[in-house]
Symmetry: C2
Subunit: 383 residues, 2 copies
């Protein structure tokens, strides 16, 4: 699953103005239209993320330290607290956006006390996220994560799988040990989310095996929602549960996180094609070279245009290493077929839906501010 | 992890008389000395297992049916309810010994009401067991399980890993959704057990990479306890929790299951060397051909005898396919070095310890009967 902002941060302007998109669809509410205009959100999000790490990291670290030695070593490496040789590292690899969403949702619906109560849930969500990263990297044979070699390349497949299994168990143990009345529904919801994440990853690996004309846009959107949206939604829902929110508000917070997650994925896919390699750390058009059925590509293929037919032909042939011209040609075909415009408009629309969902549960703009700043942050690509 | 009685059932007499072993160590209590003498236990265990399946299977099946389609298909195949092509099968692949232990422990400490209350926990334990089987088969590249091709050989590594992940989540979701007051400590204990199972599997794969002289008997025993004993102990402990037992009784039940699990593993390892291939479904001495560092082998290697040196030399060379004479020679070396005798005596000792642990919590023989019958069943090799 994609990692927020660790490789793609601050690299190219890609998100259209959310307020505008929302207005276009007639969905904008009073909640946060004004909030999404400026760059102040970036600073607010940075402060929130920093505050989150300050309370979550010690609990997270303590949970990892409770693992038996071999599992602990792999986990500490994966989280960036140790180098491959077991020596200390600074652990500043992830941005902790999911725990930040848990805490921001708790604060939005229940104030500072709920935020404090939800720290364990925030740690649990971060553990689940990282369990899926460990396993996905094994399945996808990804060799790099957060600018470091993936755990399986260092410790082997078996240990990476086992460390992932242990992190899932740790996450659900934390909630089982939490006496807060929200802990039980939170655990059920988080476990349910894991099942959805698994189904999403299955669809992703399955789609990569199929031909480009055998995948529909609805399927890719559903996959992105399961793989990326589900855990962001779950993070927000858990925060709401710890604030004592009722089922409607919990569902609204889940919807907010899901839609923001989809917006993120759309923008991430745009960057996977048109991102600047100096910032992405990957060669230009890496997703196209891998013939990845990303959202802009499938949208382009489904457009019924002449460019779609060209793109289908290009995608039907394997990438020849070093074919920079072929990649440029492919990127232009996606753009001419409307894939880029669609993805950007869809991202804006998803953000508008996110804002609308949030306003159902949190009508006061001041209370919604933190969540909006985080949503803006994960889809923002300029600074 | 080893599967009770599905491949090794009813094949050769291997367990010494537990009562005798207990008396030898002066540990036998009044609890069940008489119970372990006869063959009646086999029938009692068979009845218990049948009754367990009758209440556990519908809940287990319902839990699996709740999975998204692709995960469901892999899970139903793994559990034997579907063939690889998705058509129905009878599902009679496992013996459900772990859920039977949960229910028997609940009944022993809390009577029929506790047994009924513990069904969900029994399902959760079976789900965890099967999640570890799915993952272990991927890691160990095992191609056969319960006389059928393993899930990864049918669906690929990624789907087998994902299905395992989903089963772990399902197990902990069941407990999170269970309003019984024991559900929360049971979930914490089960999650803790998963971490121990992961550490055990890590040690197992790690030891297989090391030389035969680099592994100590204590290490192999600790590994067997983590890999096999821990979940049997956890099953019994969960039953005790659902019976409302206090910490001492829960710990005693955990100890009972752990010791019985170790006894099982010792006997299973004996059969891996001297078992009749007509019953085991594997070629004679398969574990020796694989140079497996099983308990009798490591005991033999640690014996300081002349035969130990011979065995070390034999184990130092790779197995040449078809070398029946070499395998027979190796088996004789293990036997001459005392590996077989040690394993059988140790199994008897572990059973005696199991009985002693049980008597701490369940002093009344009638109440302990079910658990003793199951423990006898898993280590019994004649009928």
């Amino acid at each position: 699953m994609a990692e927020f902002m660790t490789e793609t941060e601050q690299r190219c302007p890609a998100v259209p103005h959310h307020g505008t998109a929302g207005e276009r669809r007639g969905r904008t509410t009073g909640t946060g239209a004004g909030r999404l205009d400026g760059q102040a959100d970036g600073q607010e999000a940075a402060v929130l993320l920093e505050r989150t790490r300050a309370v979550v990291d010690p609990e997270l670290r303590a949970a990892l330290e409770s693992l038996p030695a071999p599992m602990r070593r792999i986990a500490l490496y994966h989280f960036g607290w140790q180098h491959a040789d077991g020596t200390s590292a600074n652990g500043r690899t992830g941005k902790a956006i999911r725990p930040a969403l848990v805490l921001a949702a708790a604060a939005a619906l229940g104030g500072p006390a709920a935020r404090t109560a939800a720290v364990r849930a925030a740690v649990a969500v971060e553990l689940v996220h990282n369990f899926t990263l460990l396993h996905d990297d094994v399945m996808d044979r990804d060799t790099s994560r957060r600018h470091r070699p993936t755990a399986w390349t260092v410790f082997g497949d078996a240990d990476a799988i086992l460390a992932g299994d242990a992190l899932q168990a740790l996450a659900l143990r934390l909630l089982a040990e939490d006496p807060h009345p929200a802990a039980r529904p939170a655990a059920a919801r988080l476990a349910d989310c894991v099942v959805e994440l698994c189904a999403g990853q299955h669809t992703d690996t399955d789609m990569e095996r199929r031909g480009p004309d055998e995948v529909t846009l609805d399927e890719v959107l559903a996959m992105a929602e399961a793989k990326t949206g589900a855990l962001l939604g779950c993070a927000c829902a858990l925060g709401a549960l710890y604030a004592g929110a009722g089922p409607d508000d919990v569902a609204a917070l889940d919807g907010f996180g899901r839609q923001a997650g989809l917006a993120f994925q759309l923008i991430d896919d745009v960057i996977g094609i048109w991102g600047d390699p100096r910032h992405t750390g990957k060669p230009a058009g890496a997703d196209l070279a891998a013939r990845k059925k990303s959202l802009p590509v499938v949208a382009a293929l489904s457009s019924g245009t002449e460019a779609a037919a060209e793109l289908a032909e290009l995608y039907g042939k394997p990438y020849v290493a070093g074919d920079v011209e072929g990649i440029a040609l492919t990127a232009r075909a996606v753009e001419r077929a409307g894939g880029r415009d669609w993805a950007q408009a869809e991202a804006a629309d998803r953000m508008a839906r996110a804002v609308q969902e949030l306003s159902r549960a949190v009508p006061v703009p001041e209370a919604a501010g933190g969540l909006l700043a985080l949503a803006e942050f994960v889809t923002r690509r300029s600074s």
